[in-house]
Symmetry: C2
Subunit: 358 residues, 2 copies
């Protein structure tokens, strides 16, 4: 039960392809994600389902996946067959939610080798289908996920109401069951203290702004998630274009914040970027938040061409590697917090090309 | 009057030889200094002397210096011929005191090319003779300064009382007029929070402990000056051996603090040293105190062989170069504070071999 899954150990060494930095506007709009919530007819929603009913859902999904041309070659992992560390690892990969990682019972995830498409089984909803992409690419993500959704609906009895649309465990998802979100990197707006103003404006447009690590953590960083709140009474395409439009505006705001900083406070930016880079290359103990803060500054430095010997690929790789479960997967064993901080610092030094300096 | 003195601009590029790091125990006892206070008979002490009387002292000293085999080839600079920046520069070189640098009137300094021996004229006392050396070397410093003192006394009418000894402007210097001091670097004792205990013990032995920048500044660092308080009723040799003995004890305490840290908190020390090194190599704005803090940590790292590609010579050089007047001498112009912080960071990056990274 608790043996490390070899597939996951291998995954720990590579960056998911949706962080390839190849998509449109990806220097600021890092990635896009479309998520669909679906539930099976005649089975209680997960929060109220009995153990046997969750088993029934998982069996039905497994059977459907086998018959699905789009799903049959994907990997299926039952979470109760994995160690706690492996479950946390999948959470850090954004393949399962905290909810799915922490709870017992018949829960599973199906995903492709590139980690672009995944299907969570028995999370808050029976089915949560998601598709990631690099940069601002909500429309193509929707173009890829819609056929899979149609296929699943042809293979499974999905709960739909004539009046409301798709039925979901939480009323906030009823209707389309769709959440379109983008991860944006806004160090410029944070630095010129305009981030609260932007956040407020986005909220007034009916969208939600969250920190990188979602609703349940206090970790702050210059990374934010922007997504739709309303899922009901709108066409999927309209929801998606609404989020996309706001993402483009935020891109422009961030660009102009960066230009303003370089014009008015060049020394301060060079100092911030330089110090962050220097610290990451030389610290021997790094906690997660501090590390994220410096990675954010270095990312800004790379985009502004202040730092020329750091690649965005390395920074994206580090966004994953510095997480606790990733570090433990790399180390091949469970670690206590101080060991994690020490391993994190070592991985960062190595990736930034300073392995031999101390 | 305000033109930069070319000799001083040249001096700004080199480190005084007493920071050569070649003396005994110099990894902790950085340098030693002997200072003698002398006054001329029948002239009021400087704080009460009229302008004409200060002129009279300076003329007498100049005439004596010409006839002195030990002084005649040394450089004499009249401070009222120098710009304010040059006066501050001499203060940063430890060749003149703040008092001498800031006040008007007939004030001067005589010093040798190595900046080991100097004679301040019309500071608090008419004559303040000092000798520096690398490491713990109070006895040799005394051996070098005593003949010069004898020579001066043979050439000038020095005020001596049968009862008290040498008479001085401040009663705390009466008697021998001698202050023997050492500059010690105690990052280990600061880190293990034993510095206050050591300071208290030293004070109870009748010695004074001051920060690196003397009595009149609030700047703190891991560098301290230890010197005798009592100048009266003791032979010079006994005062000197008293300070030397305490310096040796402090050396032992600091050594054992460092050993303890490496045994019990190696990760923390590597982290502190690594971060300091990384920051110095990459910051673009550095204020003086922060810079001193990091230089202190890097110095510790070099001594503990954590950092192998930094030389103690470079660190000693930087102890001088990061000072505001030095930076302005190097820049060839007066600078505003933010420019000073930017120049300081640039000089540090260059000296630590990171000139091209940003």
């Amino acid at each position: 039960m608790d043996k490390a899954n070899p597939l996951l150990s291998e995954m720990a060494l590579k960056t998911p392809s949706w962080l390839s930095q190849k998509g449109p506007l990806s220097q600021i709009v890092v990635s896009s994600r479309i998520r669909l919530a679906r539930n099976l007819q005649d089975v209680p929603f997960c929060p109220w389902a009995k153990r046997g009913e969750l088993d029934q859902v998982l069996r039905a999904v497994k059977a459907a996946a086998k018959r699905s041309p789009l799903l049959k070659n994907l990997t299926l992992l039952s979470l109760h067959h994995l160690s706690a560390l492996d479950c946390f690892f999948l959470m850090e990969r954004h393949l399962v939610s905290q909810e799915l990682a922490m709870e017992g019972g018949a829960r599973a995830v199906i995903f492709d080798a590139d980690e672009i498409t995944s299907l969570m089984v028995n999370e808050e909803d029976h089915l949560r289908l998601q598709r990631f992409g690099s940069g601002l690419c909500l429309v193509p993500c929707w173009g890829e996920i819609a056929p899979l959704d149609r296929e699943l609906r042809s293979l499974l009895p999905v709960a739909v109401s004539q009046e409301f649309g798709y039925l979901t465990a939480c009323p906030t998802n009823v209707g389309t069951g769709l959440r379109a979100s983008v991860m944006v990197h806004l160090p410029g707006l944070v630095q010129i203290r305009q981030i609260d103003k932007v956040t407020k404006a986005v909220t007034q447009l009916g969208l939600a702004v969250r920190g990188l690590y979602g609703e349940n953590t206090s970790i702050t960083s210059d990374f934010f998630q922007i997504s739709n709140e309303v899922t009901l009474g709108k066409r999927e395409e309209d929801i998606i274009s609404g989020v996309e439009k706001v993402a483009r505006q935020i891109y422009d705001y961030e660009e102009s914040a960066r230009r303003r900083l370089m014009a008015e406070a060049k020394n301060v930016i060079y100092d911030k970027v330089g110090r962050a880079h220097g610290l990451l290359k030389s610290a021997h103990l790094l906690n997660f938040e501090e590390c994220m803060e410096y990675l954010s500054a270095v990312r800004l430095g790379v985009d502004l061409q202040i730092l020329k010997d750091v690649s965005m690929e390395t920074l994206n790789e580090l966004l994953f590697l510095i997480q606790p479960a990733h570090l433990q997967k790399l180390a091949g064993s469970e670690l206590v917090p101080e060991e994690i901080d020490s391993h994190r610092a070592k991985v960062v030094r190595e990736k930034l090309g300073n392995a031999s300096s101390l």
